[in-house]
């Protein structure tokens, strides 16, 4: 069983929760989503997503919408349409790509200031991915560089992950599960 399947099982949820998975290209979104998918749906080979791609899939209770924010923002207005429907966000960062940390921060700031996101208390889970790469930044350093302490009006959580091995994903998913539970009650 995939992780989200279990989560849905514990919660006994009927309604779907729309989770947006965002991040720069090559940060590991596709790999992470693949780990979270129901086991039978997990694809083996992952090709890097180029340009713009939206992937949707459902587990028994959660509906995922995955975006790649890559290229020079040509498709930005397309993916922004999906912000309204999102009830939780997973933001993936490549902790080994120090050069583009500013770009990730810029994209995050743009996301947080979007009218469909700004005034909503939706939980944000940060995956500081590729922690296995030599010289990768720690999750503390990543949250410093992204100025996460400035996010005051939304619950957020960061954890270091290795999406190839699935390490660290569980902790994040547990946190998200708690958040969704409190949101529903």
């Amino acid at each position: 069983m995939g992780l989200f399947d279990k989560l849905a099982g514990w919660l006994g949820l009927k309604k779907e929760v729309n989770v947006l998975c965002l991040g720069l290209d090559n940060s590991g979104k596709t790999t992470i989503i693949n780990q979270l998918k129901p086991t039978n749906a997990q694809a083996q080979d992952i090709v890097p997503t180029i340009g713009f791609s939206i992937e949707k899939f459902k587990t028994s209770s959660l509906s995922f919408t995955v975006f790649d924010m890559s290229g020079q923002g040509r498709y930005r207005n397309l993916w922004e349409h999906y912000y309204k429907e999102g009830q939780a966000i997973i933001f993936v960062i490549d902790s080994a790509d120090k050069l583009r940390m500013v770009v990730a921060k810029e994209e995050l700031d743009t996301l947080l200031n979007h009218p469909d996101i700004k005034h909503r208390r939706i939980p944000i889970l940060f995956f500081a991915n590729k922690m296995d790469v030599r010289d990768a930044l720690s999750s503390v350093k990543v949250s410093q560089l992204l100025c996460l302490e400035n996010i005051k009006d939304k619950p957020w959580h960061i954890c270091a992950t290795n999406a190839l091995k699935g390490e660290g994903l569980q902790e994040g998913v547990d946190w998200l599960q708690d958040q969704i539970k409190t949101m529903r009650t």
């Binding site: 720069l24 290209d25 090559n26 890097p48 890559s70 290229g71 020079q72 923002g73 040509r74 930005r76 790509d97 120090k98 050069l99 583009r100 940390m101 500013v102 770009v103 921060k105 810029e106 994209e107 743009t110 010289d135 560089l145």
Partner: protein, 581 residues
Amino acid sequence: MSESGSDGGKWLDAHYDPVASLYTFSSCVDLADLSGDGESRLVVGDLGSGSSGMKLKVFRGTALMSESTLLDLPAGLVAFFMDLHEPRIPAVAVASGPCIYVYKNLRPYFKFTLPSLEVNTLEQDVWQQVREGQIDPPTLKEMLESIRMKADVPLSVRSLRFLSLDTSDMGEYVQLHKQQPIRRQTVITCIGTLKKSTADEDGVSCLVIGTECSDVYILDPEAFIVLYKMSLPAAPTLMDVTGQYDVEFRITVACRNGNIYILRRESDKPKYCIELASHPVGLVRVGKIVVVGCADESLQGFTQKGKKLWRIVLPAPIITMAAMDLPTRGFQAVLVGLANCEVQLYREKNLLSTIKTPDVVTSICFGRYGREDGTLIMTTKGGGLMVKILKRTAVFDDRDSSAGPPLAQSVRLNVPKKTKLYVDQTLRERENGLAMHRAFQMDLSRLRLAAAKAYVKALESSLTPMSSSLTEPLKMNAVVQGLGPSFKLTLNVQNTAACRPVMNLAVSFLYDENLYRMRNPYMRIPLLVPGLIYPIETFVECTSDRGISDIIKVFILTKGRSSPLLTAHINMPVSEGLTLN
């Protein structure tokens, strides 16, 4: 990682290492996907400091990935595809001295040496005699000097160095070198790439090199043989190449004689020549426009046929220039690094933005670095490395900085449509123009007559509040204060003469004695100094309680004249209060 204000927040500061010890120029910097993993690396020919420390350095992200020693100062560096092998990994060519060192997978792969030049036959004979022991070093010196004076073929480096030696070192030098054959070699001054037969991004490219002896060579990338040779009137220093070798190409070179030459496929001599007033220090082609930076702090645009399009003056001398090409957004511009620690971005002659830098920028390279298409890489005089990434949301608007008609001139005014009423009126005016004009003239004459009559009447009866007498020019106004039955009457009298005082004046009032009582209906006015306003006050009592009012006439009189100088009529207000007695 903050945004700097002057560039309008268009760039993200991704990395700055002020002590990266990178000393280089724009010609020795390139970006290429050297590992074939979709991530571009930065390749730098580092000139080091002094005559040592020349290195080929490769950066990945913020880190130095590899470095290898270079034997000589690099004059230029390019990454290019030399074959069709998979995976498509470009090679790096470093031009230094008379050689091109080609690296593949960052390992030395091939060394190309320029063909040697013709050696002066006289020089050759002289050295032959030295070898046979027929002449000694002082005679050699004498003979070489005379050859140098008149020969059309210059001396070799060996002879030139010999001539520069002290007499004491000559013997040893001759012993060391006399057995080797004489060779004359030129050095490479600039290098570029030219696609062989396709315009594809990863198409095989020829190397194009300019040399100190004013030649341009095109080299075959696989066999490293000279495909084409062209001659210029002077040594080239900067070069831009466009087109494909097999189809049509254009090589634009800036030369040491201050001219720019344009070479075409069909001729081995320059096709066009641009004569500049000042020496070129930067050369960038943007589409079909050749942008040249000159030593006189100017930036100039030319067509590819050498026709001058524009010229602008820059705030400081140019240090380096590079093209900014962003095909995904169809954006092309020129980056100019200036001596005042600024990098300015120009689209044609318009300044789009200015980046302030902590040090003078000596090399600029814009392109895909890592996974980011719009990356600007700069190195500084002090050896620093700076990486900025263009924001995905950045837009550059074309402010026309040059003088010309203001923008407002071309904005159309919102003129309302002609209404029916307007049209009717216009017709009426057109038809009855004569009658309307006459009526107007008649009314105007009547008005003038009425005005003149009133004026004459006023003059005759001295009714004006202005005195018309030349000796006593006076002005007066009156103010009534109070609700009644008691009023305060203030007359403000002013002598409007320039400097002459007025004397012997008096004021008198005329009124209905059944209605009003005045404390002193006759008063003397003191001497009036020119310009000052004299308030003359008196009190008026209204004796009637019937709620009516009347006029009080005021006269300013002068001694010895029966008619008053000034007359004023004061319309008294109705008394609101009751009489006390």
